[in-house]
């Protein structure tokens, strides 16, 4: 098994994925590293790649004019960044900053989208995994928005 394919199939996000799909995804992938403080991407940039975090911590940030940066989540080894590559308009909706040295597998979005169009089994497999991951994020975000540790409302 080629190195990238092994990395793809060994990532928790792709646990249990068939080897044929692993080969297809790894054909679009490359290894990347980001130094602490470097941005993987910024809000509104084209989502040309999605990332599987292999090592390190990534802070997802939102900026508001005149206000300090807000970190809305931190992602770590085994997490993914994100689903913006999968659906139009293919643009990131937040900044992603390497909080420490980060190693990721970057998967070319157009390459993988084309493969998903050509092989709907691959597309469906990916969609199930991304919907699951996005559902988890949504549930976590709801809890954050609830402000459960704040002063109870009477």
């Amino acid at each position: 098994m080629e190195g990238l394919e092994r990395i793809v199939l060994g990532h928790p996000f792709f646990a249990g994925l068939g080897p044929e799909f692993g080969a297809a995804i790894s054909g679009c992938a490359r290894n990347l590293r980001f130094a602490a403080g470097e941005y993987l991407f910024r809000e509104d940039e084209p989502a040309n790649e999605f990332y599987l975090i292999r090592h390190g911590t990534v802070a997802l940030e939102l900026h508001a004019p005149g206000q300090p940066v807000i970190v809305i989540a931190t992602l770590r080894e085994g997490d993914i960044l994100d689903a913006a590559w999968l659906v139009p308009p293919y643009r990131w909706t937040f900044d992603a900053r390497a909080a420490e040295l980060v190693r990721v597998l970057g998967v070319n979005a157009r390459c993988l989208r084309d493969k998903c169009e050509a092989d709907h089994d691959l597309g469906y497999e990916l969609m199930k995994r991304f919907v699951g991951a996005m559902g988890e994020r949504l549930r976590a975000t709801r809890l954050q928005v609830l402000d459960v540790y704040g002063t109870p409302r009477s």
Partner: protein
């Protein structure tokens, strides 16, 4: 009174608070203070129990004991200013006097958990009722398997017992994860919710006990995540919060389904309250 509670004896003199002096005050966060009270004789309690604290002229409120059960020369309470009484408690200064009666209620299964992995999970002020259990586990660290502490707070400035958390974190035999709901770029810790940490933490679900204390909704999602990891309801304990008044099962204010939180709780094994835990009207 609910069935099963008729035969219980109410301790004599239960309504009489003992006046105790505040020996030390620590400001934990903007609205949270920790009070050390000086008992007139050694004060014994079990981790998870609570006292009723009386601010003279204002009223009484149930507050968990947050100190070390091994230190019987002080009674420690961490109080958040929420209402008139708790607000007055949180503003107390050294040498003030408060009325105390207790301890009351059930306790964390600190001794029963020996031999198992222990997962301690707290949210917000929920770290206070859990802290005596942490002291107990760490005091007999060799008797337990893996020890994991997860703590969630609103933001970095809301983290309770920060120095103590940092001290515990330096230990090589405890896994500690602190997460906040949101933070600025100067926060280098985790941002996210407590249940999101559970899939990653190291413990053996077949030989583990989880102790949880925090807002009920946080505990609900945390229990779901623990059960996804394979923990049974019998292995999960949680501390419930209800409006307790008499603390001895007379007034019924803290009734939680068939149980009184003051008598049968505040610490419950989850399987014993699971049927009523998710009912919105309770």
């Amino acid at each position: 009174m609910t069935p099963g509670h008729e035969a219980r004896e109410v301790p004599a003199g239960w309504w009489v608070p003992q006046p105790l002096r505040v020996s030390r005050v620590r400001r934990e966060t903007a609205d949270v203070a920790t009070l050390d009270l000086a008992p007139v004789s050694p004060f014994a309690f079990a981790a998870g129990q609570f006292n009723m604290l009386y601010v003279f002229g204002l009223g009484e409120v149930a507050i968990s004991i947050s100190g070390d059960p091994a230190k019987k020369d002080r009674i420690v309470h961490t109080v958040r200013a929420l209402g008139a009484v708790s607000g007055a408690l949180a503003r107390l200064r050294r040498d003030a006097v408060v009325g105390v009666r207790g301890p009351y209620g059930s306790c964390w299964p600190v001794a029963e958990a020996e031999g198992s992995d222990v997962v301690l999970i707290a949210g917000g002020l929920g770290l206070a009722p859990l802290r005596p259990a942490i002291y107990g586990v760490l005091a007999r660290r060799q008797s337990y398997g893996r020890v994991v502490l997860l703590y969630g707070a609103r933001g970095p400035s809301d983290i309770l017992y920060r120095r103590e958390l940092e001290t515990w974190r330096r230990r090589l035999d405890v896994d500690i994860e602190v997460t906040v709901d949101h933070a600025g770029a100067d926060w280098h810790g985790n941002v996210g919710v407590v249940p999101g940490l559970i899939p990653r933490i190291p413990f053996d679900p077949h030989h583990a006990v989880a102790l949880i204390c925090g807002p009920e909704i946080m505990m609900r999602f945390t229990i779901a995540a623990l059960r996804d990891r394979g923990l049974a309801s019998e292995q999960i304990y949680l501390s419930m919060e209800r409006n307790m008044k008499c603390a001895v099962g007379l007034c019924g204010r803290c009734q939680f389904g068939p149980a009184f939180v003051c008598l049968d709780g505040p610490v419950f094994r989850f399987d014993r309250i699971a049927p009523v835990f998710g009912i919105r009207e309770i």
